[in-house]
Symmetry: C2
Subunit: 590 residues, 2 copies
């Protein structure tokens, strides 16, 4: 791949584009378009924005990603969690739906786009690592629960608000008396239908003789059926007069050209939410892209993905959209429908564009309860109660970080939730890194192997102590190393040789080097020699650039067995010399 194609992957796949690929991409695009129309409207509504903004966010961003992204099949657009985060962040600026709110959503998209591009250019994709899998999983589960709960208001036809569970439940409870019966009937029917489409339609179609893939794709078109039927019901039965809220007039237009506000104060207030939203969006998108790429032994490049997603968000901010990312559901549909290149995305964009131009009048009588049903059924698949159980069984600290993320997200909202999750993961990691595993080892009789004295019957010598360090030595555990070694030495009064066995030490940083130097000096004060054994090649290479090899009171051995044997010989010789001087002393005293 040449230099430019690295930054503009379209040059790579575009050059080799064939007519056969075109057919596959066009079919996939048609299917995804049908699925995207109701989803885009619904997610815009979830974000507190007018429905057409969901359509706008599904046009130019897809094309921008097609130019810059590295995944062949990722479908970019509005997604549930990012919509919720947009709602949360923009609500701090103005009430949902207001012009200031819409302007804040544009600024969020721009900021998020600029941050993603910057992170991509600086190759900072590794920052997304700060979100551990359990934290992301917990965050998405909790967000799914909040989203589903927030949509209950549209199913019931009442008002409710809040960014976290307590406020949502309180406002729902307060207004539950105002429930609109026809709305509930549409909402419950749509939810039940969509749930059945999701779970029961595909098996049914397959029992009726359809192959798995077309059955799956037909089932994916369920939402459009729900939209059509419920819209017709509203018109036929004049349910609007009976209090069923509908989407209303949607402007019939191309995406508008928008220029996000350049307001320093607004940018500052939205900077942290934009960063959180960018990282969550990136993590979600990259995992989807990686899963799909691996199925075809393709690869994505995470740093270039940052640029692709950044370009998509900048495009969203310039065309009346709001923050977008690679969505799981739509990408899987795109993949399953046979998309082969990002051109499928571009064709989808054209499809949505046509919808925005010509289909919107048909959507005026679409009940909001149907969109809420779409969202609820979609996000409930995000809620995952199995992973916490697995994580609990496997690792208690990871489980603690996950539960903290879930609880903080539910109780305080998405932003505190992400921050708590990242903070806790990092704190736990640093805590564990600061007290690694180490063992005092002895020689297994009749062998050259050394094992933990607490687990095996091994040979030791009171004049010699071998400590095996089971971790790289860094500044995080340098102090621990000093404590551990000096405590072990303090417990063994006859000690004269200490061996640090470094078979599992993959690196020693400058702080740890200094600690080893300090241990060396302190042990020298106490009359104990320090030896190292089984130092790995790269670690030894680095140590050659330090004063340690010459400062060391003892030696550096390739093998632990040689180290131990040599130390025994040295100790015997010292004992003999000591015995000699004791003898001289005794003779002198006679």
């Amino acid at each position: 791949m040449n230099g430019l194609a690295r930054f503009l992957p379209v040059l790579d796949w575009g050059r080799r584009y064939k007519s056969e690929t075109l057919t596959n991409d066009l079919v996939a695009a048609a299917i995804v378009t049908i699925m995207l129309i109701p989803q885009s409207l619904a997610y815009a509504m979830l974000a507190g924005l007018p429905p057409e903004i969901g359509l706008y966010a599904s046009i130019l961003p897809i094309i921008a990603y097609a130019l810059f992204g590295t995944s062949r099949t990722l479908a970019v657009g509005p997604v549930a969690v990012i919509s919720l985060m947009t709602l949360t962040a923009a609500s701090d600026i103005a009430p949902p739906g207001s012009p200031q709110f819409i302007a804040a959503a544009l600024v969020l998209a721009l900021l998020s786009g600029l941050m993603l591009v910057l992170m991509g250019v600086l190759r900072l994709g590794f920052l997304a690592n700060l979100l551990s899998h359990p934290v992301v999983s917990g965050f998405i589960t909790a967000s799914g629960l909040i989203i589903a709960t927030s949509q209950l208001k549209s199913i019931l036809g009442i008002r409710a608000s809040g960014e976290a569970m307590p406020e949502l439940l309180r406002t729902l409870w307060q207004n539950v008396g105002a429930t609109s019966l026809p709305t509930v009937m549409i909402g419950v029917a749509a939810t039940a239908f969509l749930y059945w489409v999701r779970k029961g339609l595909k098996p049914l179609l397959m029992r009726m003789g359809l192959a798995a893939r077309p059955a799956d794709l037909i089932a994916k078109a369920g939402p459009i059926a729900a939209v059509a039927v419920s819209t017709l019901a509203v018109i036929a039965l004049d349910l609007e007069a009976q209090g069923v809220k509908v989407v209303g007039a949607i402007p019939q237009s191309l995406p508008p050209l928008t220029v996000p506000l350049f307001d320093a104060d607004l940018w500052q207030r939205l900077a942290v939410p934009a960063l959180l939203l960018s990282i969550i969006g990136f993590v979600e998108s990259v995992s989807v892209a990686q899963t799909l790429a691996a199925k075809k032994r393709q690869r994505i490049r995470p740093d270039q993905e940052l640029i692709g997603l950044g370009a998509a968000n900048i495009a969203a901010s310039l065309s009346g959209g709001y923050p977008v990312t690679g969505g799981f559901a739509r990408s899987v549909v795109n993949f399953d429908a046979g998309a082969e290149t990002p051109a499928a995305g571009a064709f989808t964009a054209v499809g949505i564009l046509l919808a925005a131009l010509f289909l919107t009048p048909l959507l005026a009588s679409l009940p909001i309860a149907t969109l809420a049903a779409t969202i609820i059924v979609a996000v409930l698949s995000l809620v995952d109660f199995k992973t916490p159980v697995h994580v609990f069984r496997y690792s208690k600290p990871d489980f603690a970080a996950m539960m903290a993320t879930i609880l903080v997200t539910l109780l305080a909202g998405v932003e505190p939730g992400v921050i708590a999750g990242v903070g806790l993961s990092l704190a736990l990691f640093l805590w564990r890194a600061s007290r690694p595993h180490a063992a005092i080892v002895g020689r297994v009789p009749e062998t050259e192997h050394f094992r933990n004295v607490k687990r095996h019957k091994v040979f030791t010598d009171p004049r010699i102590l071998t400590i095996r360090i089971d971790e790289s030595l860094t500044y995080l555990n340098a102090r621990w190393l000093e404590d551990y070694v000096l405590e072990a030495v303090a417990e063994q009064p006859r000690l004269r040789h200490l061996i640090l066995m470094c078979s599992a030490v993959n690196a020693i940083d400058a702080s740890a080097l200094e600690s080893i130097e300090a241990i060396n000096h302190r042990l020298a004060d106490a009359g104990v020699k320090l030896h190292l054994s089984e130092v790995k090649g790269p670690v030894m290479d680095a140590l050659e650039h330090s004063a340690l090899p010459s400062d060391l009171t003892g030696q550096i051995f390739l093998s632990q067995n040689t180290a131990f044997t040599t130390a025994m010989t040295l100790a015997d010789a010292e004992d003999a010399a000591q015995g000699q001087s004791d003898l001289w002393l005794a003779r002198g005293m006679i």
Copy 2:
């Protein structure tokens, strides 16, 4: 050690106190007292506080540490770097020397004390690990340079201010015209004398036949001689009338009982500075305490040290002092003078108390230039240009973190310096942890050893790939693992068996486990089996609690050699089966 003695170490050593120990402790206390008097006055002045506050900070805090601390010989009191940090933090509240400034210093001591005790109780001593050795070294060097520069004003007898170099140098340059000649003469003479006492007096005394230890202790009394001589010179020559600034009247009193202000706003503004100051003080103090304890094969307990230092700072806040910590110079003197228990500290406190009551009138004519000289000579020993050279040779990332700390501290001040150092160390650590070393390995011919294909001539099989991971697998490198493995797989189209060789993997957290599961599924989609080899005991124990052993498309092998041999056999069998079906296909077509 019983439960209570763990938290009140005095119960342990106090019970076994003997009259011989008493003599040693009393001698040490007398020597330290003489050294501490000028130092305490000087550091209080450096912190922008009236000189007597330095004495007060050397009385009750020492006794509090003697009760709660675990070091036998650490001497607690005002130190240079903490005094500078106090000046910086309290200057944000009020001008130095004002009653509000003094009140802020008391609050800083209280907050720092409470934070240290809390960290000790919660066993959060590991947080001090966030400061890597190069960062601490760089910070102390830069602080030393700032302190020395700031004292030039007192040597020149002019005004200057600023918390960082640019402002300090600018104000010094602006006022250099107002230099007071007699002040410069005293200042330069005192600096030269103290420097000579430090470097030249001990060798001289030893050449005159004195033993090393008494020579060293006499040299340590140099500052008190400088104080006496310059005070007498001021009185005899009436230099005060010629513009030499003197300490002036110091109240003759016991330390006052003070109650720090309970002002929420003030506490909030001082919280971050207090935290930084606490951590820097703790790191400095613990390294001194560990160095001294190791010389006698004693131990200190870092979490209990937090409580000891916290108690000392709370005591400082209640007795008219300011933040304190364990100082290097005074602790070494205490140790060398033969102190055996914290009782020496308590006797020192009595000595300073007597000084505060009876000696202060003698200090009224002490020139401030002499105190500045004491500070300059003391802090120049903190400035260390050798460590950067060593760190540069050993590790470029550590050097980068160190230089950033030095530059930010010099240019922007101590607080940004500490924050930049911690942030950079952490970012570099996370960056390195997120892309660990791994190697594709092959079998060394005629052996069972596997080595890096890039470094050795080894045997490989295009159907089998072995990746050796040289690091524990955690959430920080889980995504890297997926990228690395999938890229390696994408490059080897005939691949059918992938072996992850885990000989250097000391832990696998829940995120990395999920990534291995994901790799397993993705490879299955691509028709590649995943095997693990050389999994360590504790890692295997943890994996037993997960679904991985049963989900794995391949097997878990104890030895890499068995894994490789088995994979070859499997691949041969698959090839044979494939050949068979190709044959059938060919026959069918005939």
